[in-house]
């Protein structure tokens, strides 16, 4: 600690009071801390470790779907334990999780310290006059040439002609080229910082919101601001104007796929349109710092509901999604010339008959109420169900208990689970795969399996003996396995398949859950083909409550529902991002800096000899090519490239 004051000796110390001592010791402790801090945080090894850590952490988000915990729960190929772990580390939102951001913070601290301590010496070096710089010892010049006849002046002249800067120095010359490219790394690091600052600015002062608009609808800029899912704490309130969708259309390729989609938007201020422009993907509209992008589109639906005399509208215009349906379908059969199948939500015995593969709605069939259509008929005779499990019989510490079960489908698992039970000191729940199959006892705190019990077996859990006596059947609970239909007077037994297992999905739009007729429902509509029916689904169970065709009415509970048909909506994204210029500047600087890294700083020292001269040379990277370059440069002039000795091999760092 050369620059710290000397520590007082014990004798001296007794002569000083505490304040004086602190004054002396204080700075030393600070210097020691500072040096330790700088050494640690300027370390390149730390940089490598942190960069690798960030890279490794980033892979996580490409494997685990980014969304919410429920997306992780749905990963059935992983064990429950792994899923729990992933949820606990927020693997569903890695890039915004506290630990990932901490990692980034440490990285930028590292980058800041390390760049800071290096940039000043480098600047001093770059700004110094070359002849003032010390000439390295011969051993530190990896490449050396000897000229028998050529004088130092001639060599200097050659270099000057080749674009080197040449300065006279004692006993000869110094020459160099590309000195400023020594700053490549600093420039890259600076650019990374600007991206960081731009990102933080965007996070604090920007907002982003995407929303659908039906033609004629408008969205006030301030409402988009308020509804925005991502909005910075310091984001200024936008001006008071609205954006209105006047027209939406698509153009298509000959094969029918969408080529481009367009929205004509009007900006409305004080109820007066001030600007009208057509936007498309890749051509946004900017108004007063807010940009509107054509982001998505879809077929929307507007249904009219009437309950207790009160009319209301529910608009389905969410971003295209793909939704799994729950329930059961029958094998296909022919009805007249149509291929059709029956859909059953998994409860009850009524079927919706739908065309295949277009999912056109043909009608409903129930026992006693056959479907009549175009001279054809479908009657339901009976539904054969696999027995399900209604309850589990246990003997806990000698006492019999019947425990009801519920479907585990809520947790995206097959089978049943019980509510919380107490086995002596342990809180557990049971997992029941099916009738009279071994049950699993799961610890409620750790979600770890404590063991399985076959019917009739017993084991001690939490200090009490537990016997599994068996399961009670739920006659219809396991879901239908087959149905007997009478099609145009002819009885047929059709197998039924759980929709989940078919991978059948409705690709199209789904609304947010809304309440209709006392039930929480979502509206869903397949985007293809045009004219697909509208599905009204139970939001929790995923079963269809109604399948409607344009112009139809139906009842859900006491609510009457009418649907007039599909409408196209345009999906817009709006955002303000004051950080963008900084980020772009950062991008530019990173590119500039990394490209600067392609050029090397070459230094040459020319020393006149009694006869001819000697040249020592050094380059900051790319020694091999540099040597060849020297060869080409000087062999014509009688320069002799000396072999590299082991001494000067490692000198060019």
């Amino acid at each position: 600690m050369a620059d710290g004051p000397a520590t007082p000796t014990a004798d001296e110390a007794t002569l000083l009071d505490r304040d004086q001592l602190a004054e002396i010791r204080g700075p030393e402790a600070w210097v020691r801390f500072r040096n330790g801090f700088v050494t640690f945080w300027a370390s390149i090894k730390l940089a490598v470790v942190l960069i690798c850590a960030i890279a490794a952490a980033s892979t996580l988000g490409t494997i685990v779907p980014q969304g919410g915990p429920e997306d992780v729960l749905a990963l059935e190929e992983m064990s429950l334990r792994t899923r729990e772990f992933l949820i606990s580390i927020q693997a569903y939102n890695v890039y915004y999780s506290a630990w990932y951001l901490t990692l980034l913070g440490l990285f930028f601290l590292n980058l800041a310290v390390c760049t800071w301590v290096r940039v000043w010496p480098r600047l001093r070096f770059a700004l110094a006059r070359p002849r003032d710089l010390p000439i390295p010892a011969r051993d530190h010049m990896p490449d050396q040439l000897r000229f028998a006849d050529t004088t130092a002046n001639q060599v200097a002249e050659t270099l000057r002609r080749r674009g080197y800067r040449v300065f006279p120095a004692k006993e000869g010359f110094v020459a160099d080229r590309n000195r400023l490219f020594r700053f490549a790394a600093m420039v890259v690091h600076l650019g990374l910082f600007m991206i960081l600052i731009g990102g933080i600015t965007a996070g604090l002062t920007g907002y982003k919101h995407s929303f659908p608009l039906l033609p004629g609808e408008s969205m006030p800029a301030r409402k988009a601001f308020e509804d925005a899912r991502t909005r910075g704490r310091l984001t200024p309130l936008p001006d008071d104007f609205r954006v209105r969708l006047d027209k939406f259309w698509t153009t298509r390729y000959p094969d029918g796929s969408v080529k481009q989609f367009y929205s004509t938007l009007s900006i409305v201020e004080d109820d007066k349109p001030v600007l009208s422009r057509t936007i498309k993907v890749n051509e946004p509209l900017e108004y007063k710092g807010t940009t509107y992008y054509q982001s998505f589109y879809g077929i929307g639906a507007e249904i009219l509901t009437v309950a207790r005399g009160i009319e209301s509208r529910v608009v389905l215009a969410n971003q295209a999604s793909s939704t799994k349906l729950q329930g059961f379908i029958t094998q296909r059969f022919t009805l007249g010339k149509q291929q059709v199948f029956g859909y059953n939500p998994g409860k009850g015995d009524h079927f919706e008959i739908l065309t295949f593969p277009m999912l056109g709605y043909v009608g409903d069939a129930k026992p006693g109420r056959p479907l009549q259509t175009n001279g054809h008929s479908v009657a339901v005779r009976r539904v054969l169900s696999r027995p399900g499990v209604a309850s589990v019989r246990l003997v806990i510490g000698g006492k019999s208990r019947t425990v009801p079960v519920e479907s585990a489908s809520r947790f995206k698992m097959q089978g049943y689970i019980t509510r919380q039970l107490e086995f002596g000191s342990r809180k557990v729940f049971l997992f029941v795969p099916g009738p009279d199959q071994p049950i699993q006892i799961v610890d409620l705190d750790s979600i770890a399996s404590l063991g399985t019990l076959a019917p009739g077996a017993h084991k001690a859990f939490g200090g009490v003996d537990v016997r599994f006596a068996g399961t009670d059947d739920d006659p219809a609970g396991g879901g239908p396995v087959a149905t007997e239909l009478v099609i145009d007077g002819e009885a047929q037994v059709l197998r039924m398949i759980e929709l989940e297992k078919t991978g059948f999905r409705v690709e199209g739009a789904a609304s947010d859950p809304v309440e209709i007729g006392g039930r929480n429902v979502v509206l869903m509509q397949a985007s293809e083909p045009p004219g697909s029916p509208l599905w009204i689904m139970d939001a929790r169970e995923g079963t269809a409550l109604a399948v409607m065709r344009p112009g139809e009415r139906t009842d859900i509970g006491i609510t009457k529902v009418r649907w007039d048909g599909p409408v196209w909506f345009s999906g817009l994204q709006t955002k303000t991002d004051p950080g963008l210029p900084v980020i772009y500047a950062g991008f530019l600087i990173v590119i500039l800096g990394t490209m600067m890294g392609l050029f090397n700083h070459e230094q040459l020292w020319i020393t006149a000899q009694e006869q001819g001269c000697r040249v020592g040379a050094k380059v900051n990277r790319g020694r091999f090519t540099f040597r060849r370059h020297l060869e080409r440069l000087f062999t014509g002039q009688g320069g002799e490239l000396l072999p590299q000795s082991p001494n000067n091999q490692g000198a060019a760092a």
């Binding site: 980033s58 490409t62 494997i63 982003k208 390729y253 890749n282 946004p284 991008f587 990394t594 990277r621």
Partner: protein, 315 residues
């Protein structure tokens, strides 16, 4: 055989392409020619390796040069034919086309580099690699070889710049991988074959070996320093394009995340190389890891998860 099984222009299904057109036939023949030339070059380099004579090496070089020309010809031919059908066309519209572009970039880059560095084994491994790449690409199912119409967000010149840059950087990284594997090959051969005494090693292989290692190390480094800015440029143009199209320059989509991971691994390589303890073989392993990351970015991501790039036979 008219070489059509090698053609990427088999869009007969859509009726856009006339299989009898001489340009379509030429396309298939040029792919085939490139494959044959690189295969022959590999053989020539093997002969060079086995006999130690330099003539087969020079023949191999020549064949690689010719292959660069045929693959360039194929790109141009395809472009000229297709752009009349689809004005937005860019010859990187599916996996096969993009692989053929990488092949061209590797061949062209190889030509320049081998002239300067003349690293032993470099020609052999590069030629072998390219031969394998073309053979595998020719086995791709037609689904991945047929171009499909561009979705709206791709109809932008940004995307052309973006994809082209990404692929050029992959080519540079592929060659850096070749150099790094050669480095590791010689490193471990030397480490295992020689008595583990420094004196004995120095006596047996004084300067030659270390000069060779320096050369391969520098070659790896220079290629990465070349690929690094191009990849940065590629990632950033991708961001510019995304911002233009969707209003989001970065959305942590798996493909872009993997491109970033690749960039980070190469940043780790560059910095590891500066630290005395991590120079040499350790840094070379970073270079290998970087290329594994390139492969995941280029090919693997489509199997990992879904995202913006899932139209994504592209890139």
């Amino acid at each position: 055989m008219n070489g059509n099984e090698f053609s990427s222009l088999d869009r007969q299904a859509t009726g856009l392409i006339d299989p009898q057109n001489w340009m379509v036939i030429l396309d298939g023949r040029l792919v085939l020619a490139t494959l044959v030339l690189t295969g022959l070059a590999t053989l020539a380099f093997i002969v060079r390796w086995a006999t130690g004579k330099s003539v087969p090496g020079r023949i191999g070089q020549g064949l690689m040069g010719l292959a660069a020309l045929t693959s360039l010809g194929q790109l141009v031919d395809r472009y000229v034919y297709m752009v009349r059908i689809d004005p937005h066309y860019w010859p990187l519209s599916n996996l096969f086309e993009s692989v053929m572009f990488v092949v061209f970039a590797i061949l062209a880059l190889h030509l320049v580099i081998d002239r300067v560095y003349k690293a032993p084994g470099f020609g052999l491994v590069s030629a072998g690699l390219v031969t394998i790449i073309i053979s595998l690409a020719s086995l791709l199912p037609p689904r991945l070889r047929d171009a499909s119409p561009l979705v709206p967000s791709l109809q932008s010149y940004w995307i052309k710049i973006h994809v082209t840059l990404m692929l050029i950087s992959y080519a540079a990284f592929a060659l850096s991988f070749v150099a790094a594997t050669l480095y590791l090959f010689f490193h471990y051969r030397n480490a295992f074959a020689q008595p583990r005494s420094i004196g004995a090693m120095a006596a047996q292989q004084p300067n030659n070996h270390s000069a060779l290692m320096d050369l391969l190390d520098e070659l790896t480094y220079r290629l990465i320093m070349l690929g690094f800015p191009i990849l940065a440029f590629g990632i950033i143009t991708g961001g510019l394009w995304a911002n233009h199209a969707w209003g989001t320059y970065w959305s942590w989509d798996p493909k872009e995340t993997w491109a970033l991971i690749t960039w980070l691994v190469y940043a780790a390589y560059l910095h590891a190389r500066m630290s005395r303890d991590w120079q040499g073989a350790k840094a070379a392993w970073f270079a290998v890891a970087g290329f594994v990351s390139v492969l995941i970015t280029y090919l693997g991501v489509n199997y990992l998860a879904t995202g913006l790039h899932t139209y994504g036979k592209l890139l």
